[in-house]
């Protein structure tokens, strides 16, 4: 929302703050200002000038004009190409040496003649968008008069105004400024101007829930034309497009009182009843913007006897628009239900200055104020305009609201500052709240209508009013008193942090991927799109589904980083999101996924390094070969087991999914892992007698698992076994091609003695017999 400083000054007589000071004060007291900028600062040096004489220039479209630029500048000669540059015209003269924004106006020779400055169009001056000819000024302006005084525009963040319907107009902001400056607001509205009596027009509101109030005036003898320059400039300064005097007045009042208005050409309406009703299902509506909308009963329309003439609170209709030939108008000033307008405008993707205001819940009391203001302004811009009949006003006044009880000790407690009752009262009264003393120390506060629609409803809202007007800098800092109590400890989060540190220490870089996955990617990893939670309104297909595995993201990172690095390690801790039954929130399961990529080599070392990571993260974890999933290397996939529970997977990504090199992946379910916890430790007495060891080489098939052999050896060696250590494996002569030899070192001991040779041989034989019993040969 843009605010004109000049306008605020007009509404707050005596205001002396500079635009920058004003913006800073508004930021601290009311709403966040995003910037202050001068509006068309050249306008105070552009002046009115009368064209005295025009002579054609042979061979050129331009004419040579002699102009009277007033007593100070005198007569000048300019070359002008505008078709309306005719003797007698009163227009805008830009003296040489002035800059219109980026454009520098210089004394120059144009079409063979010296041109001392230029005559300018409204568009060149930045006060409207008319570039058909030079600006035409009314006869009331004298040559030499500056076109406009300098104005500054303060831009306020719309988000900081969403709760304040009143601040969508200058009067609302001026009221704030007056309050924090200790000045009074000059209300531009004179409601005594509203006509009484009745006429042929009437209003029928079908549902006051949709439109709590609909007011209108009818005017005749209207002459439609351009607005005066000051009005056009003001609208342009606020970012509103000047259109015609009648439309400009409605927009000016909207910017002043926050009350959107609409003027219908009365001669284009059928019948004399303005209806406010729900649209019919499928009702067609041709809007001012050239679009046609198909409406439904959830939309509210303004209708005449033939159908919709406006989409209530959003936009007017094309059929009854004000045009050059308009002579009679119906001027609407109505109030609409905020939620209805917001939904309509969102659904039809039609956000207008009107809908933006109505969706903030405007004040129904404001409609007739705006009409009273329109009477004054229309008389200025369309001399001779006449009211027809009395005020048309259909409304159901809202129920009287109880005042808010404001206990002053509560206020002091919450603010952290005891504010004297008199100061509380004066602050609230400056903001036009009505304050009564309900009982000693308790105020009963009546909320003004423009703050009562949804903004101020409870005492906490009044706390804010008092606090911001005093300024929070006055509140003394005070340490909160808190119970001495150890906070709840989030063990799961600490566990994740510990895993992060371990993985990073082992060389794995942490990254974070999105929670989204595209349908295409999911399919690539043979994950059913139907198993995913689906986003109803993704911006792109990349955000279509919620991930049920971290793999697609990790895979993308592998592929991208493989373009730049020959070897890398990375990991992510993030949630898999799994659908549950309807109505339930999904199951968010934290996972750790680590990956190791090497461009060179056969990938075996990478897998084993990841296995080491698994052992570091989950002490005691084991890998057990498992059937590969489609995206896994068919011969290199395992589950990660901890005390018999499956906690994750270790695999190489299927080489067809990695262009060059090999990528191994470790995936751990951290929810399960955390639930398993670590095994309780118990001290075992240290063995006092030296242990003994012996080596064995087992000849076995190529896919016999070392882990299985170790388990068998351990079982056969029994209680005495301290450790079975894998030493190495061997293939080749003299072993047949389908055999390998695996060598182990078995360490044994007893608590009360060192084994003698006989005992050792017995253990060794037991192990060998057990292995032979399973069909393995033993090498010497």
């Amino acid at each position: 929302m843009r605010f004109s400083c000049n306008w605020i000054r007009e509404l707050v007589p005596g205001l002396s703050a500079s635009p920058a000071e004003l913006a800073a004060q508004i930021t601290m007291k009311t709403a966040e200002c995003e910037g202050v900028e001068p509006f068309a600062p050249w306008l105070e040096r552009v002046c009115a000038a009368r064209v005295i004489e025009v002579s054609p220039i042979a061979g050129a479209g331009n004419v040579l004009a002699r102009i009277d630029a007033g007593p100070e500048l005198g007569e000048r000669q300019v070359v002008c190409g505008a078709p309306n540059c005719l003797p007698g015209l009163l227009t805008a003269y830009v003296p040489a040496g002035l800059s219109l924004g980026a454009r520098q106006i210089r004394r120059a020779v144009v079409s063979g003649h010296e041109s001392d400055g230029m005559l300018a169009s409204g568009s060149e001056l930045g006060i409207n968008r008319d570039d058909e000819g030079v600006l035409e000024l009314p006869a009331t302006v004298s040559p030499g008069a500056p076109l406009a005084e300098v104005d500054f525009v303060i831009e306020v963040d719309n988000k900081s105004l969403t709760h304040r319907p009143d601040l969508w107009g200058h009067v609302g902001m001026a009221r704030e400024v007056a309050a924090f400056s200790g000045l009074s607001l000059r209300d531009p509205v004179d409601e005594s101007l509203l006509p009484r009596g009745s006429g042929e027009w009437s209003i029928a509101v079908h549902d006051y829930g949709l439109s709590p109030r609909y007011s209108a005036l009818v005017f005749e003898n209207v002459s439609v034309g351009p607005s005066p320059v000051w009005l056009q400039a003001r609208l342009e300064a606020l970012g509103l497009n000047p259109i015609s005097n009648v439309v400009d007045v409605t927009n000016l009042i909207m910017a002043e009182l926050a009350q959107p208005m609409h003027a219908f050409d009365a001669d284009h309406l059928r019948g004399h009843t303005i209806q406010v009703r729900r649209a019919r299902d499928g009702e067609q509506f041709a809007a001012l913007n050239g679009e046609t909308y198909t409406l439904a009963p959830r939309h509210v329309v303004i209708a005449d006897d033939s159908g919709a003439i406006a989409l209530g609170g959003v936009i007017g209709g094309a059929g009854s628009a004000i045009g050059a030939s308009t002579q009679r108008i119906v001027l609407e000033s109505a109030n609409f239900d905020a939620a209805t307008i917001r939904k309509t405008s969102a659904e039809l993707k039609l956000r207008t200055d009107a809908s933006m205001r109505f969706e903030k819940a405007q004040d129904p009391a404001n409609t007739t104020r705006a009409l009273a203001r329109a009477i004054t302004l229309l008389e200025q811009v369309s001399p001779g305009i006449r009211l027809v009949g009395g005020l048309l006003d259909a409304w159901q006044p809202p129920p009287q609201r109880e005042p808010i009880r404001l206990p002053l000790d509560w206020l002091a407690d919450k603010l952290g500052l005891a504010v004297p009752a008199g100061r509380v009262r004066s602050i609230l009264e400056l903001l036009e709240f009505r304050v009564e003393e309900a009982e000693p120390g308790v105020f009963a506060v009546h909320v003004p209508s423009w703050r009562a629609t949804k903004d101020v409803t409870i005492k906490d809202d009044l706390l804010e009013e008092v606090g911001r007007m005093i300024g929070y800098a006055e509140v003394p800092l005070e340490a909160p008193l808190q119970p001495v109590r150890r906070p709840w400890v989030n063990q799961e989060r600490l566990y994740h942090h510990e895993l992060r540190r371990t993985a990073a220490a082992l060389g794995f870089a942490e990254l974070l991927n999105y929670s989204f996955v595209s349908e295409e990617t999911a399919s690539r990893f043979n994950m059913e799109p139907g198993d995913h939670l689906r986003v109803a309104n993704p911006i792109s297909s990349e955000q279509g589904l919620m991930r049920i595995s971290l793999l697609p993201g990790i895979h993308r990172c592998i592929v991208e980083n493989a373009k730049r690095f020959d070897e890398f390690r990375l990991f992510e801790i993030g949630s898999e999101i799994h659908k549950r039954s309807a109505g339930e929130l999904p199951d968010e399961i934290p996972h750790l996924m680590a990956a190791l990529y090497r461009k060179q080599g056969d990938g075996a070392a990478g897998l084993l390094e990841l296995k080491r990571l698994a052992e570091a993260l989950l002490p005691g974890a084991q890998a057990q070969p498992a059937d590969a999933r489609p995206y896994e290397h068919p011969a290199r996939a395992a589950v990660i087991l901890l005390r018999g529970e499956v906690l994750g997977r270790l695999y190489e990504i299927h080489p067809s999914l990695v262009e060059t090199g090999r990528a191994a992946v470790l995936d751990i379910d951290l929810k399960k892992a955390h639930q398993m916890g670590s095994e309780p430790r118990r001290y075992k007495p240290l063995r006092r007698y030296p242990s003994s060891d012996f080596d064995l080489s087992v000849v076995a098939g190529l896919r016999v698992l070392a882990g299985d052999l170790i388990a068998q050896i351990r079982a056969a060696a029994g209680e005495a076994c301290d450790e079975v250590e894998y030493l190495y494996s061997y293939r080749g002569h003299p072993l047949p091609d389908d055999r390998q030899s695996l060598s182990f070192r078995i360490t044994v001991s007893a608590p009360d003695r060192t084994f003698n040779n006989e005992e050792l041989t017995r253990i060794r034989n037991a192990v060998m017999d057990a292995l032979r019993g399973r069909g393995y040969e033993l090498r010497a």
Binding site: T27, K29, T30, E32, K159, S160, L161, T162, H163, R342, E359, D413, K414, L415, G416, L417, I458, D460, L463, E464, R468, Y472, A473, V475, L477, E478, A479, P480, Q482, R485, R486, W488, N490, R493, R500, A503, A504, A505, L506, G507, A509, E510, L511, L512, N513, S515, L533, A536, N537, M546, E560, N561, R564, R569, L570, I577, G583, L585, P586, E588
Partner: protein, 341 residues
């Protein structure tokens, strides 16, 4: 020649040999010759039996002196040779310690994790519990419970990712306020760090996925003054220096009153610079007193309890700290970026 003279001459010769030895072998040869079991001194010692008791005492004393002298010289020379040999061996073991260590380098944690962890520790030290909430939320927790009525613009489709089943991706960490009140009751001190989502187009300063830390304190009498004190202490800890803060009005439906908290620009100290756009102040975080409706939603009676809440933009803090100019780096997984932290 008397035996004493022989001994004296022998000593002189031995000293010459021991001191003149140029290697450990020469030294050993000399030791065997004089100090060995069959060496010169041993021979003299054997001959002592033939001497008179007086001579024996005299020769014995001298013999002892000579033996001690030679042994000391031998030991000194021997350890000198050993030391020299050790020095020579070690010198040959010169190692270029600028060579890279074998094995993978320890890797960095994501900058978001690092700062988040720091803040978790900081808040824990202030007595706050670190609480989690789901990323896929119900409309109730994300909006209704936070006093965001169905018609609030924040619910517009362009801001929220909706699931087909009617749930949504939380648009802020604030739903954890209500979940925490339900779970822990009052009094309460919590933070909730986490991932949040907004349905926005990606560019250098906009992400659809970013990180926040929600904070909340609920007790019997919590005032704006308490909140200011707390924020000042918190920010002093975050920035490791004293900070000047100010509150100005800000509208957030789940707090009343609501504030934007600014800190005096740490770059220029408030004088005005490009970082603070010449204003001297930098907008840092939204905060406020918890709205009574939110307390009610969390099962607390607003006449009995109240509190303050705030939201810290973790992503923004990370970008500020490291001077990161493009938010998209944080989720790109590019090791050239991640390797810098």
């Amino acid at each position: 020649m008397s035996i004493l003279q022989t001994l004296t001459q022998l000593e002189a010769r031995a000293v010459t040999l021991l001191e003149g030895a140029t290697c450990a072998d020469d030294l050993e040869t000399a030791r065997v010759e004089f100090l060995g079991r069959k060496g010169a001194l041993a021979t003299i010692s054997k001959e002592m039996g033939r001497l008179s008791p007086e001579e024996r005492a005299q020769v014995g004393r001298l013999l002892n002196e000579v033996k001690q002298n030679l042994e000391a010289r031998y030991e000194a020379r021997k350890s000198a040779f050993e030391r020299a040999a050790l020095d020579a061996r070690l010198a040959g073991e010169w190692l270029d310690l600028t060579l890279p260590a074998p094995g993978p380098r320890p890797a960095p944690l994501h900058p978001l994790t690092q700062i988040q962890r720091e803040l978790e520790d900081l808040f824990t030290s202030l007595g706050f519990a670190v609480v989690d909430g789901p990323e896929v939320e119900t409309e109730w927790y994300n909006f209704d419970a936070l006093n965001i009525p169905p018609t609030h613009p924040a619910r517009d489709a362009q801001d929220t990712f909706w699931m087909e089943d009617g749930h949504l991706l939380r648009t802020h960490t604030s739903p954890v306020q209500v979940r925490a009140m339900e779970r822990f009751g009052a009094p309460l001190r919590i933070i909730a760090p986490g991932r949040v989502f907004r349905n926005e187009e990606l560019d250098a300063s906009h992400e659809h996925t970013f990180y926040q830390i929600e904070g909340m304190m609920v007790d019997r009498h919590v005032s704006v003054g308490h909140m200011l004190y707390f924020m000042k202490s918190l920010l002093a800890a975050i920035f490791s220096r004293e900070v000047t803060v100010r509150l100005r009005p800000g509208f957030f439906p789940f707090v009343e009153p609501g504030f934007e908290l600014d800190i005096q620009c740490l770059i220029c100290g408030g004088a005005g610079c490009p970082v603070c756009k010449q204003s001297g102040w930098v907008e840092l975080l939204p905060c406020g007193l918890v709205h009574p409706n939110v307390l009610r939603a969390g099962g607390l009676d607003p006449e009995q309890w109240n509190g303050f809440a705030f939201g810290l933009g973790l992503t923004r803090l990370v970008m500020m700290r490291y001077g990161i100019d493009d938010i998209r780096h944080l989720a790109a997984g590019d090791l050239r970026f991640l390797g810098q932290f």
